[in-house]
C-alpha cells in the first residue's frame, strides 16, 4: 500500500540509490536493495534493535562501534558506511522510511509499478495471478508488482489500487451504485399513484 515518504528519507534514499548505481549499475541497485531490506527486516523483527537505532540516550560513538561490530563484514562496506553516516547525522531512526523510499526509486528505475489487489477472500490461483499481471502490464505499460490483500466487505469481485488510483470492480461497489441509481431515478418517471389501487 502506498505510504507517505518524508522528505529527509527520500534525500538519503536517493543518495544511496545513486551511489549503488555508480558502483554496480542495475545489478548494484538490486543487490543494495536486497541488502537494505534484509537489514531492515532484522531491525523490524527485533524491538531492541529498533530501540538502539532510535534512542537518543545511546551515545553516537557507542552506537557506531556497535554497528561496526554487528554488521562489519556481514554487509557491504557501502551500506555500513551509509548507516554510520546516518548515525553521525542522528538519522538512523529514519532507516525504515529510507527503505520505503529506496524501494520506490527502485521500482521507478526498473519500470515497475506496485499494484495492490483486493479480493473478498480465499486464495487467488496462479493462473489468475498470471492473467492479471499480463493484463495489467499491457494496460499500464509497466511491470506490475502484485500484493494481495483480502477484504470480506467487498462480497465479491476485484479491487485494484495503483498509486492514488482505485479501480473498484467489487460487488459491494456495484450494489452501492445500484442503490443510488434507484434512489435518484425514483419510480422511473412514473407517478406514485400508478402503484396504488
Amino acid at each position: 500500500m502506498p505510504t507517505q515518504i518524508d522528505q529527509v528519507a527520500s534525500v538519503y534514499a536517493r543518495s544511496l540509490f545513486e551511489l549503488a548505481r555508480e558502483l554496480g549499475g542495475d545489478a548494484g541497485v538490486a543487490s543494495m536493495g536486497a541488502e537494505l531490506r534484509e537489514v531492515c527486516g532484522i531491525v523490524r523483527a527485533d524491538g531492541r534493535a529498533l530501540e538502539l537505532f532510535r534512542s537518543p540516550i545511546v551515545d553516537p560513538g557507542q552506537r557506531a562501534a556497535s554497528l561496526k561490530r554487528t554488521f562489519g563484514g556481514r554487509v557491504t562496506d557501502t551500506l555500513l558506511n551509509f548507516m554510520l553516516v546516518l548515525n553521525r547525522k542522528g538519522r538512523l531512526a529514519e532507516l525504515l522510511s529510507i527503505e520505503d523510499a529506496y524501494e520506490a526509486l527502485e521500482q521507478q528505475a526498473f519500470g515497475r509499478i506496485e499494484v495492490d489487489v483486493f479480493t473478498a477472500g480465499g486464495t487467488v490461483d496462479e493462473a489468475t495471478k498470471a492473467t492479471l499481471a499480463a493484463d495489467l502490464k499491457k494496460s499500464l505499460g509497466k511491470e506490475p508488482v502484485l500484493h494481495f490483500y483480502t477484504d470480506p466487505a467487498m462480497i465479491g469481485g476485484l479491487k485494484l489500487r495503483i498509486g492514488d488510483q482505485l479501480i473498484d470492480g467489487s460487488v459491494a461497489a456495484q450494489l452501492r451504485r445500484m442503490r443510488s441509481a434507484l434512489l435518484d431515478r425514483g419510480l422511473g418517471g412514473r407517478d406514485a399513484g400508478t402503484f396504488l389501487s
Binding site: 507517505q4 489500487r161 488510483q165 461497489a173 451504485r177 445500484m178 422511473g188 389501487s197
Partner: protein, 515 residues
C-alpha cells in the same frame, strides 16, 4: 388503498436490467492525521481545491470533507459531520463533485443545518433540486442597478437609510444593541408582500450563536407568522468550525435558487438573507486556517479573510430584466467590541457593503430604540429605490435631526437660546421621539410618510414630547377612518405633490380632537 407490489417489483427488475455494470475508478488517499475538524490526507494526487471528499470509516458510515489545502504530498481537508469516526489510515475518495445544498420551496419554514439537514425535528427534507454552495457571483452583464425598495418597516431606516432590493447593507454595533432585532423586524415586515409578485423569501443564517438564542428567533418568527416564508440556517456555537464557515454560503445558495427562478417567470423571486453574524464566521475561518497551518496575518486572521466576505456579499444581486429581475439582498451583521469600528473585520465589511446601519449602546440605554445612530448610518444606493413621497419628507427630516444634534450640546450647558434655535431643538426632540418604535411593530411605508410629514411640517411642534407617540398612533388611526380618502390618494399617487394642503388640513382637524 393497496400497494401493487408486483408492479413495483417489475420496475425494480427493469432498473436492474438496465443497470450497466461498470468499474468505478477514483482517486484515493489515506488519512495521516485527524482532529479539530481537520484531516490531512496522503495521496489523492489529482484532487482539486474545493472538491468534496468521502472518508470511508471503519464503522461503514461515510463522512464528507472539503479539500482546502493542496500540499506537495498531502491534502488538508475540512470535515463535515461525525469526525470522531475517522481513524488514521482510513481510505479517502475524491468524489469529483463540489459541495451542494438542497434548495426549493420545500425548505421554507424549516430550520436546517448548513448541509440542508432538518434541525427542527420535522420530516427529512426531500427537494428535487440542489445548488452549489460556493459559486462565483453573477457578472456585470447579468445585473441592473438597485431600483426597488426593501421596506424594513422601521421609520428611521426606511426614511434615512433606505435599502434597495439587491443591496448589501451592514448592520453593525456592540453586543446587546438590537442588531438581530432590526433584521427580524425587516423579515416580519415582508409578511405583507407574501403571495404577491413582490414577495420576499427570507433566510436567516445563524453562525456561532447559542442554540437557545436561535430557538428564540425561530419562535419570534413563528409567532409573527413570518416562518412561512423564512428558512433558518443554523450552525451553532457547538458545531465544528467548517460548518460555521460554510453556513453563510449555503444560506446564500438557498436564496439564489429563488432569485434565479424569476427567469422562468416564477415567484417569489426576491430574497433577503441575514447573516448573523459574520464576525463569528471570520473567527471560525481563522480557526480553520490556523489548524490547516495557513500563515496568520493581522489579528491572526488569514490573508484571504477579506475575500471570505467579499465573495459572499458580491453574490447579493439585482438581476437584469432578461434574467427575470430577481434580487438577493444581504444584511450582514458585525459585532464590534466597545464601538471599535476600526478593527480588522468591521473595516473590511464596511468597505465591501453599500452602507451601514450603526447601532449605539448609548442610544439604546437612553431609550432610543431602535438604537440607530442616523448621523453616521448611510445607504449608498437605496435612495434610488425610495418612493417619491418618502423622498419628499425624508430630506427635511435628516436636516432637522442634524441641526438638533448640533444644538443639543449647547442646550445641555443651560445657555439662553434665541427663539429660532429653541424651535429647532423642540422640532428635533419631537423627531427623535417619532423615530422611536416598538419591536416587531413594522409600519407600512405610507404610514411612515404621513407621520414624518406631520412632524417635518411643524404640525407636531405644539404636541408635548411625551405625547408624540400617542399622537402618532391616533393620527394614523384617524387616517384609517375620517381621513381615509386623503390617505387613499397618497397610496395611489405615491407623492405629496398637490396633496400637501389636504394633508395639513386633515392633520390639523385631528389635532383639534387630540387631548
Amino acid at each position: 388503498m393497496k400497494i401493487k407490489t408486483d408492479e413495483i417489483t417489475s420496475v425494480i427488475k427493469q432498473e436492474i436490467q438496465n443497470f450497466a455494470s461498470q468499474l468505478e475508478i477514483s482517486e484515493v488517499g489515506q488519512v495521516v492525521e485527524v482532529g479539530d475538524g481537520i484531516a490531512r490526507v496522503y495521496g489523492l494526487g489529482k484532487v482539486m481545491a474545493g472538491e468534496l471528499l468521502e472518508f470511508q470509516t471503519q464503522s461503514g458510515k461515510a463522512v464528507t470533507g472539503l479539500t482546502m489545502n493542496l500540499e506537495q504530498d498531502t491534502v488538508g481537508a475540512a470535515l463535515f459531520g461525525d469526525t470522531d469516526l475517522i481513524r488514521e489510515g482510513d481510505t479517502v475518495k475524491a468524489t469529483g463533485r463540489i459541495l451542494e445544498v438542497p434548495v426549493g420551496m420545500e425548505m421554507l419554514g424549516r430550520v436546517v443545518d448548513p448541509l440542508g439537514n432538518a434541525l427542527d425535528g420535522g420530516a427529512a427534507i426531500r427537494t428535487s433540486a440542489t445548488r452549489k454552495v460556493d459559486i462565483v457571483a453573477p457578472g456585470i452583464a447579468a445585473r441592473q442597478p438597485v431600483k426597488e425598495p426593501l421596506q424594513f418597516g422601521i421609520k428611521a431606516v426606511d426614511s434615512m437609510i433606505p435599502v434597495g432590493r439587491g443591496q448589501r447593507e451592514l448592520v453593525i454595533g456592540d453586543r446587546k444593541t438590537g442588531k438581530t432585532a432590526v433584521c427580524l423586524d425587516c423579515i416580519i415586515n415582508q409578511k405583507q408582500y407574501w403571495g404577491t409578485p413582490d414577495a420576499v423569501v427570507c433566510i436567516y443564517v445563524a453562525v456561532g450563536q447559542k442554540d437557545s438564542t436561535v430557538a428564540g428567533v425561530v419562535e419570534t418568527l413563528r409567532k409573527n407568522g413570518a416562518l412561512d416564508y423564512t428558512i433558518v440556517v443554523n450552525a451553532g456555537s457547538s458545531s465544528p468550525a467548517p460548518l460555521q464557515y460554510i453556513a453563510p454560503y449555503s444560506g446564500c445558495a438557498m436564496g439564489e435558487y429563488f432569485m434565479w427562478q424569476g427567469k422562468e417567470g416564477k415567484a417569489p423571486k426576491h430574497v433577503l438573507v441575514v447573516y448573523d453574524d459574520l464576525s463569528k464566521q471570520a473567527v471560525a475561518y481563522r480557526e480553520l486556517s490556523l489548524l490547516l497551518r495557513r500563515p496568520p496575518g493581522r489579528e491572526a486572521y488569514p490573508g484571504d479573510v477579506f475575500y471570505l466576505h467579499s465573495r459572499l456579499l458580491e453574490r447579493a444581486t439585482k438581476l437584469s430584466n432578461e434574467n427575470g429581475g430577481g434580487s438577493l439582498t444581504a444584511l450582514p451583521i458585525i459585532e464590534t467590541q466597545e464601538g471599535d469600528v476600526s478593527a480588522y473585520i468591521p473595516t473590511n465589511v464596511i468597505s465591501i457593503t453599500d452602507g451601514q446601519i450603526y447601532l449605539q449602546p448609548e442610544l439604546f440605554s437612553a431609550g432610543v430604540r431602535p438604537a440607530i445612530n442616523v448621523g453616521i448610518s448611510v445607504s449608498r444606493v437605496g435612495g434610488n429605490a425610495q418612493i417619491k413621497a418618502m423622498k419628499e419628507v425624508a430630506g427635511s427630516l435628516r436636516l432637522d435631526l442634524a441641526a438638533y444634534r448640533e444644538l443639543e450640546a449647547f442646550a445641555q450647558l443651560g445657555t439662553e437660546l434665541d427663539a429660532a434655535s429653541q424651535r429647532q431643538l423642540d422640532r428635533g426632540a419631537r423627531m427623535v421621539e417619532l423615530l422611536k418604535q416598538g419591536q416587531f411593530m413594522p409600519f407600512t411605508v405610507i404610514d411612515q410618510c404621513i407621520s414624518i410629514f406631520a412632524a417635518s411640517k411643524g404640525l407636531m411642534d405644539d404636541v408635548p414630547v411625551a405625547k408624540v407617540s400617542a399622537f402618532e398612533k391616533g393620527l394614523l388611526e384617524y387616517f384609517q377612518g375620517p381621513g381615509k380618502a386623503v390617505r387613499d390618494q397618497l397610496v395611489e399617487k405615491k407623492s405629496f405633490k398637490g396633496l400637501e394642503d389636504q394633508f395639513s388640513a386633515a392633520i390639523k382637524a385631528f389635532k383639534a380632537t387630540f387631548k
